[in-house]
Amino acid sequence: MCLAIPGRIEEILDEDLQLAKANVSGVRRTINIGLVHDEDEKIEVGDWVLIHVGFAMSKIDEAEAVTQLKALEEIGEAYEQELRELSVSRIE
């Protein structure tokens, strides 16, 4: 649960509830973007974010996302478990 995993925003689902669709290593799930989406800095489709327990924690650039994904793939089991847990998530 302590992992933060990079995901790419594919769709803003609900501005009011601050929900977006993110793609994490091919797993597409709804996440909350309330901590990073405000007047000053809007999250847009195509942006990369670090996701922790279903919430975007910070916006990151693509270079950082690629680096972190590579590192996560290398840690193997813990990341696979995180992806399994993510895959049962149905945030509304």
């Binding site: 649960m1 922790h52 327990v53 919430f55 924690m57 910070s58 950082e64 993510l86």
Partner: protein, 375 residues
């Protein structure tokens, strides 16, 4: 994969390691604590220790939320989960944490409705789907995770969901670090500051470590090279006789933290006067409970919890390992009666726990992947 190479390039790693070696005074012994369990994992996974001179010792800190939860709180959670009307939700790692009479996984096998969730928002959805049941979310985690619980509770309040509550075990990172600094057991020279927690709280909360205790701090990322660079920054400070808070992870961590996250936390939570930490005992103002505005969602007010302090099993030495006094392999049950498959202590449960990290990677040096290998 050019980006990856920038961080993994063996030449850069070796150059940084060489710089660390020239900065370290061979006559001295340096104790550097990495506060965060994620860093502990990287250190063992990549054999960072092998790149450092003998004079630098890495000491594992208390920054793994599963590890620091005392057994009494696990038992309290289990007591709530055993109510027949309750659907008890928690993160995957929590299911296997041993309580004094078994784990959540074991009571689930005996018929309790315990469900693993990825996010507190999943727990809230389960509450929406089961209006005739009481849904409880077992909230754990440092400031990294607390804002997620806060936003979930805001949503529950806004929707007027009545059958949802949170068993709050969120803790804060600064008080245990202060407790370690005050402890006579341990003389630390410098700190590697946590990465993810700092995205929320920023770097300012660590300033007391340099201002009041005269120790340098470097907030670090999770790549092997991030850790090496932060150790280099710390050794440079020590060599210069400086002590400051530096931010090696500025590409992610803003100095001021995440204001939206901090605001949500201050609205939904308040500090508990005391909270028990595994191995560290009671620490003042080190944990969060729901604020009066959110009291209706507080599981501890909705259900009676035993609230009894339970001592760790005699054989366990998690406390000493959490304080950095013992190394994982020095615990008398390490790898024998305590393994990742059958954890006796919490440090064996989550992959960020020092004992699990060492069990999985540290001791099997053959399988360890050196920094920069093959790139």
């Amino acid at each position: 994969m050019k980006y990856v190479n920038e961080f993994r390039d063996a030449k850069i790693a070796q150059a940084v390691a060489a710089q660390i070696a020239t900065l370290a005074d061979p006559q001295r012994h340096y104790k550097v604590m990495e506060i965060c369990g994620g860093h502990t994992h990287t250190i063992y996974r990549h054999g960072i220790k092998d790149l450092l001179p003998e004079s630098i010792e890495l000491v594992h800190g208390p920054g793994c939320p599963v590890c620091v939860l005392p057994m009494g709180r696990v038992d309290d959670g289990i007591a709530v989960a055993e109510h027949p009307e309750v659907i008890f939700t928690c993160f995957g790692d929590m299911m296997r944490v041993p309580g004094s009479k078994g784990s959540l996984l074991e009571i689930k096998a005996r018929g309790a409705d315990v469900r693993m969730v990825y996010s507190p928002l999943d727990a809230l959805r389960i509450a929406r789907e089961n209006p005739d049941r009481e849904v409880v979310f077992f909230a754990i985690g440092f400031e990294t995770t607390a804002p997620s619980t806060a936003l979930t509770l805001r949503r529950a309040k806004r929707e007027g969901i009545k059958n949802f509550s949170v068993f709050c075990n969120h803790v804060t990172i600064v008080p245990p670090v202060r407790a370690l600094l005050d402890s006579p057991d341990l003389r630390l020279d410098a700190f590697i500051g946590p990465g993810h927690v700092s995205t929320v709280i920023g770097c300012r909360p660590y300033e007391f470590i340099s201002a009041d205790y005269g120790k340098p701090v470097a907030v670090a990322g999770f790549e092997p090279l991030d850790l090496l660079q932060s150790i280099m920054m710390l050794m440079q400070q020590l060599a210069d006789g400086r002590c400051e808070v530096e931010n090696q992870y500025s590409r992610i961590v803003p100095w001021e933290g995440n204001l939206a996250a901090l605001k949500s936390m201050s609205e939904v939570f308040e500090l508990r006067p005391f909270f028990e930490w595994r191995g560290l005992g009671f620490i003042a103002q080190s944990a969060l409970k729901l604020s009066p505005a959110y009291a209706e969602f507080d599981s501890e007010l909705r259900f009676s919890v035993p609230g009894v302090r339970v001592a760790d099993p005699k054989a366990c030495q998690c406390g000493e390992v959490l304080k950095g006094v013992l190394k994982p392999w020095e615990c008398r049950v390490f790898g024998t009666s305590c393994t990742p498959e059958h954890p006796l202590g919490t440090l064996m449960v989550s992959s960020e726990g020092a004992c699990a990290a060492y069990f999985n990677f540290g001791r099997k040096s053959r399988e360890r992947e050196p920094v920069g290998a093959g790139e």
